[in-house]
Structures are given as C-alpha cells and as structure tokens.
C-alpha cells in the first residue's frame, strides 16, 4: 500500500513539475501606421520570473519616446513583446512566431541567458540579428550582440577595486558552477595573482539551493574582508549574504549589476548598506544622463523600478536599438531597413556615449568593455569609482 502510494506520489511530483510549465502566453504590441519598422523581443511577462520584465518595459520606453517624437526618419517602430515566462521550453515557440508570423527584422533586448541560448542558432540560421539583454559570453555570435560587460571583466574589476581602492588583500570568492560563475571567478583570480595575491577561498554554491549555511560557514572560515559574488542574481546573493551575516560574518560584498535592485535590499533588510559594491557598465539614476533616463521612464513606464540594474540595462539597449536603426535607415536611403541591412549596421557598430562605453562590435560582438563601481548607500546606488576600462 505505502509502496504504491510512494510511487504515485513520485509520479505526481514529476507531473506537477511538468504541469507547472504550462500556462498561457500573452503578447503586447505597440505602434501603428504604414511604413513601420517591426522589431520584437521575448521576456517573462508572467510566471515566477515576472520581476525580470522591468528590463523589457524600459526597452519599450526608449522606443516609445522615439515614436512620440515622430519615429526614425518618419518610420514608427512597432515593438512586439512575447511572453516566454523565462522558460527555455517556451522561448523557441514565441521566437518562431516573432520571426515567421510577425516578420520582425531584429530582436531588441530579449531577456535571459538561458532562454536566448535556446534560440540563438535558430535566429542565426534565419539571419535575424539580436541585441541581447543577457550576460553569458557564450551567447555572442555572428547575429547576436551583447551589451552587458562580460563577467570575467566584472569579476576582475571587483577584485582590482578591493585590492587597489579599498586596500584589502584578504579576498574570497563565491561562485556558481556555470559559465557565468566560473568566468567571474577566473577574472578575479587573474587579477589577484597579478598582484601577487591569491583568494583566501573559492566557495561554490548551487543557485537552486535553499540552504546556504554551508557556504556561509566556509566563507567565514576564510576570514576574508572582501567577498566577491560577481555573477549572482539578487535573490541568490541575498540568501548567501543573509546566511553569512546570520552567523556573524559581515565582510564587504562585491556584486554586479545582476544583483543591483530592490530585491537585494529588501531580502537583506538593508543590512549591507554601505558595505556592498556593484560593478556595472550602466549609468545610475543619480548621474546627469540618469536624470533624462528617469524622466523618460517616469513618463512611459512609471511602474518599473528605476534603480534596478535590469531596468537600466533594458533602457540602454532600447537606446542602442534606436541608434542602430537610425544608422540602418540612413543606409537604406530612408526606407525601412531589411534584416540584412540592420545586420550590416550592427557588424560595424561602435558606441561610446552617455549611456554606455566600450562597445565595439566591429571587432567582437561582446558587451561593454568599460564599467563603473557603485556603492549602496542609504538605499541609493552612488558612484564610488568612475567608468574605466575593464582590467
């Protein structure tokens, strides 16, 4: 009897996991008129990862602003967003709809390393270029262009900041055993070794875990004054930090734009205020350009969180898309550019502007080669070290 029930229960667990993947998809469209430039993106508009959608709303805000000012040389941009719930099993379906039904000429800011990984080859085969809103260096390709700085550089910059600017030589690293985590770890180790140091510990964690007390214990045992977790998302970073601070270990924390948002502050209950630094290629609301960004967001996407790294990244990508499309329209003699013309523009595009520095896609389709360091202070992200090339 009980054996049978256990079997049943295990089967039900599996089923429920499978069922959890089901759900409707919604789409939203904007723009109207004759000679439209049709572009698209996928993003989790519903489901458990819905909070990541702030990025896509910010991308849309940047595009809406241009549309309200008359579009690009008279062409309005129609931006079609499809919901993939951050589920790589759903991403291919919605991407196919975008390409084959909606006939988008490019993707602008689709979100997430894993979902994009599921469609990268398909898009390349269809020759549809994409400016990706994700950080994994493996995603870069002939038709996929990255904006966010590579985590190797982010990890390196945080280590350099600890040693040179904070004058700390006891540094430990916490990382997840995946492409993002290990490249961030390797970047940090590279810099420390160049300074004749080595990390006091390289502690591995599992991003799906619920209990991080083991990592906390190990980090505490290193006695490091600076702990770098460059690739962690806010929720995981929050759990690691909470577990450590709970057992009385309170180092300085090195993080990145991936964790820079309200969730982290919320989850850690503000305990790390003044002790957390974030490496990011993006601007802040407090900067000069940031004021314009904040004003646009307040008008076009008033509900999203202005200070989050994901929002700022999304907005920056929107601005980049507008710039790329403007150049592509020029190249098409004022007509709506084709995918091939957009790809042509992208493959020789460089950017060093108020929003982002160090983009050179004529060389490699990599993310920004420059970043700044922000400090969390009184709940705000303030500049601690200005933009500089990644070491």
């Amino acid at each position: 009897m009980s054996k049978k029930l256990v079997g049943l229960t295990v089967a039900l667990t599996t089923l429920s996991t499978a069922l959890a993947g089901c759900g409707g998809g919604g789409d939203s469209a904007s723009g109207a008129g004759g000679d439209e430039i049709v572009i698209g993106a996928f993003s989790p508009l519903s489901g458990p990862a819905v909070s990541a959608s702030s990025g896509i709303y910010a991308t849309k805000a940047a595009l809406d602003k241009v549309n309200d000012a008359g579009g690009i040389d008279g062409h309005k941009i129609k931006f079609i967003i499809k919901d993939d719930q951050f589920d790589p099993a759903k991403t291919p379906g919605v991407t196919r709809e975008l390409v084959e039904t909606d006939r988008v000429s490019m993707l602008c800011g689709p979100q997430g390393s894993v979902p994009f990984g599921a469609v990268k080859d398909y898009l390349a085969a269809r020759k549809i270029p994409t400016i990706v809103n994700a950080g994994a260096p493996t995603l870069a390709g002939e038709y996929s262009y990255l904006v966010s700085s590579p985590f190797d550089g982010v990890g390196a910059m945080l280590a350099q900041f600890a040693v040179e600017d904070l004058d700390i030589d006891k540094v430990a690293i916490a990382y997840s055993d995946d492409a993002l985590g290990t490249s961030a770890r390797d970047g940090a180790v590279r810099i420390l070794e160049a300074d004749g140091l080595e990390p006091l510990g390289e502690i591995k964690y599992d991003i799906t875990a619920t209990d991080f007390s083991s990592q906390a214990i190990q980090l505490k045992a290193t006695g490091a004054d600076f702990v770098s977790i460059p690739a962690a998302q806010a929720n995981v970073a929050g759990l690691v930090i909470n577990a450590a601070e709970k057992i009385g270990y309170k180092p300085i924390w090195g993080l990145s734009y991936a964790a820079q948002n309200k969730t982290l502050v919320d989850v850690t209950k503000g305990a790390i205020d003044g002790r957390a630094y974030f490496a990011t290629p993006y601007i802040t609301e407090e900067s000069e350009t940031g004021a314009e960004y904040a004003a646009t967001l307040a008008e076009y996407a008033p509900d999203v969180e202005v200070n989050s790294g994901a929002t700022i990244a999304g907005y920056t990508i929107g601005e980049l898309c507008v710039d790329v499309l403007t150049k592509a329209v020029e190249a098409a003699d004022g007509e709506v550019p084709t995918s091939a013309q957009i790809q042509e523009t992208l493959s020789s595009y460089t950017a060093d502007n108020d929003y982002i520095q160090g983009i050179d896609w004529s060389d490699e389709p990599d993310g920004a080669a420059a970043a700044q360091i922000l400090q969390l202070k009184d709940g705000k992200y303030v500049e601690s070290k200005p933009f500089a090339p990644l070491p």
């Binding site: 599992d206 969730t263 919320d266």
Partner: protein
C-alpha cells in the same frame, strides 16, 4: 574542526524546519492516505496577507497570528470544497486536485502580488545563545522549540487523543469507519485545517530565511517530502529524525563534497531507503492478513 561543528549545528537547525514541513504532509496522509501538494501555496497566501498587515503597521505577533489564521482558513476551504469531495472518486483524483489547486493558487498569486522575492519579518535576529561557538538567534531558537512542540503535540494527538485515533481508523478502513459512525468527512476537514495551520507556521520560519515569494515554501516542502519518506509515512518521530538527518547530510555534502551534489544525495538516499525499507526507517511494516 570549527567548520565541522558549525556545519553540524546549522544542519540540525535547518533540518528541524525540514521536519516541520513534513509534519503538515503527515497530518493529511494519516487521515486521507495521500500527499497534498497544495500546502506550500496555502502557506504563501497566509504569508502574503500577513506581510500586507505587517507593512501597514501590525506588530510581529499579530502578523504571525494572521498568517496562521489565513493558512488555516485556506487549508480548510481547499479540503472542504475541492479535495475531500473528490475523494469519492478515489485517491488519485483527490491527489491530482491538490496539484491543480497548487498551480491555480500560485498562478493567482503571480498575477496579484508578482514573483518578486520580499523580505519577511522574523521573531528576532538578535543572538539568543551560542552553542560550541555557533551563534543562534532567537528566530532559530523559536524555530527549534516550536517544531519540537509541534512534533510532540502531533505524536500525542495521533496516539492518545480520541480524534487522532479516529483519524487513523478512517484511513485504515473506510467502510468500517462509516459503519461504526466515525464522521470521516469531518475528520478529514479537521486534518486539512490543521495541516493549513502547520503550513502557515512553517512559512513563518521559512519566509525570513528564503525571503517570501510564491515558491519559497514549496521549495522547502521537497525536503519535508523526503523526510517523511525516509522517516516513514506513519511515523511522526521518524519525520523529525529524518528531517534533521537530511539537514546535516545536505550541509556536510555542500561543505565537503560539492553543493551541486545536494539534490543527488538527497534523492538517492530516499530511493535507497525505499528499496531497503519501503515503509521508511521508522515506519511500521504493515501487517497483512488474508
């Protein structure tokens, strides 16, 4: 050495919470004979209501009471309106309905409150005591004490109280229960209500650690499920021991082997127990007469 000590002690602390998450499952199992997959979502409803109250100025005690009250109510309603009525078609439809209900509740929560993790208040973060150099906050101490009393209470309830015995009787032989006038429907509703309260209670200890999102309590129930399989479905004491063992084992695996091995070790040990002792380490082997 300090690493080992700390791993062991923190493993016990988290393991006792795992056991608590198994307790709610056992209560429904012992009356109805299947596992409810809705408990995490029932807790989530209570926790979100509690958090709203907390954010509008309610103190911790009122928040905690509200969480438990709402979870109790939701648990009772799910049992009364959905799952128990479906039992007349057999265990499978009833168990499936708990999955459906879980997905519906979490879908509604995603729509209304969204998927962002939020911080949830706790008893107190200040240090209560220190065991072998490991500091424990009042929240930890409260978690251990509350879990222990819940376990003792449930153990006594099922073995000593008339209602607890009647609950087991109904699950043991439904026809005999009916013929002897044991009110099985009412007892099942009581078990759903009690399980709802336990889920809310569990949520109060899980949410501050994992932060509150629509999935946080569910994530932990996996460990509770393993705890009752390893400990034995009908043994409250077994769930306590197994949950604690899981806490220690996962912690040591993460520290000394590899954190990514934790789920493997967890499920492998569950399968091993099933193969060797299908009724769990502490479960009574069922006596069958033909």
């Amino acid at each position: 050495m300090e690493l080992l000590q700390t791993s062991l002690i923190l493993g016990v602390v988290v393991g006792i919470v795992y056991s608590l998450s198994g307790a709610g499952l056992v209560v429904i199992f012992r009356t109805s004979g299947y596992i409810s997959f809705t408990q995490g979502d029932i807790a989530a409803v209570g926790l979100f209501v509690g958090l709203a109250a907390y954010n509008s100025g309610a103190g911790y005690v009122w928040t905690a009471l509200l969480v438990i009250a709402v979870s109790t109510l939701v648990g009772g309603l799910v049992g009364a309106l959905i799952t128990v009525p479906l039992e007349k078609h057999g265990h499978l439809p009833a168990a499936l309905s708990t999955i459906a209900t879980a997905l519906i509740i979490s879908g509604l929560l995603n729509l209304t409150v969204g998927g962002d993790p939020r911080s949830f208040p706790e008893v107190s973060r200040s240090e209560a005591l220190s065991i072998l150099g490991v500091q424990m906050s009042w929240s930890d101490v409260a978690g251990v004490l509350v879990s222990a009393s819940v376990f003792i209470g449930l153990g006594v309830f099922f073995s000593r109280s008339r209602m607890g015995v009647a609950m087991r009787a109904v699950n043991d032989n439904k026809l005999a229960g009916e013929l002897l006038g044991v009110p099985d429907r009412r007892l099942k509703l009581v078990s759903w209500t009690v399980a709802g309260a336990l889920s809310g209670l569990l949520g109060l200890f899980v949410a501050p650690i994992l932060s509150l999102s629509t999935v946080s309590v569910n994530t932990l129930l996996v460990f509770g499920f393993c705890a009752i399989v390893i400990g034995g479905f009908d043994s409250i004491f077994g769930a306590l021991v197994a949950g604690t063992a899981i806490g220690v084992m996962t912690n040591l695996t993460s520290t000394y082997l590899d954190p990514n091995l934790v789920p493997t070790v967890l499920w492998a040990s569950m399968l091993l127990v099933l193969l060797v002792r299908p009724n769990g380490l502490f479960g009574r082997r069922k006596l069958v007469r033909v």
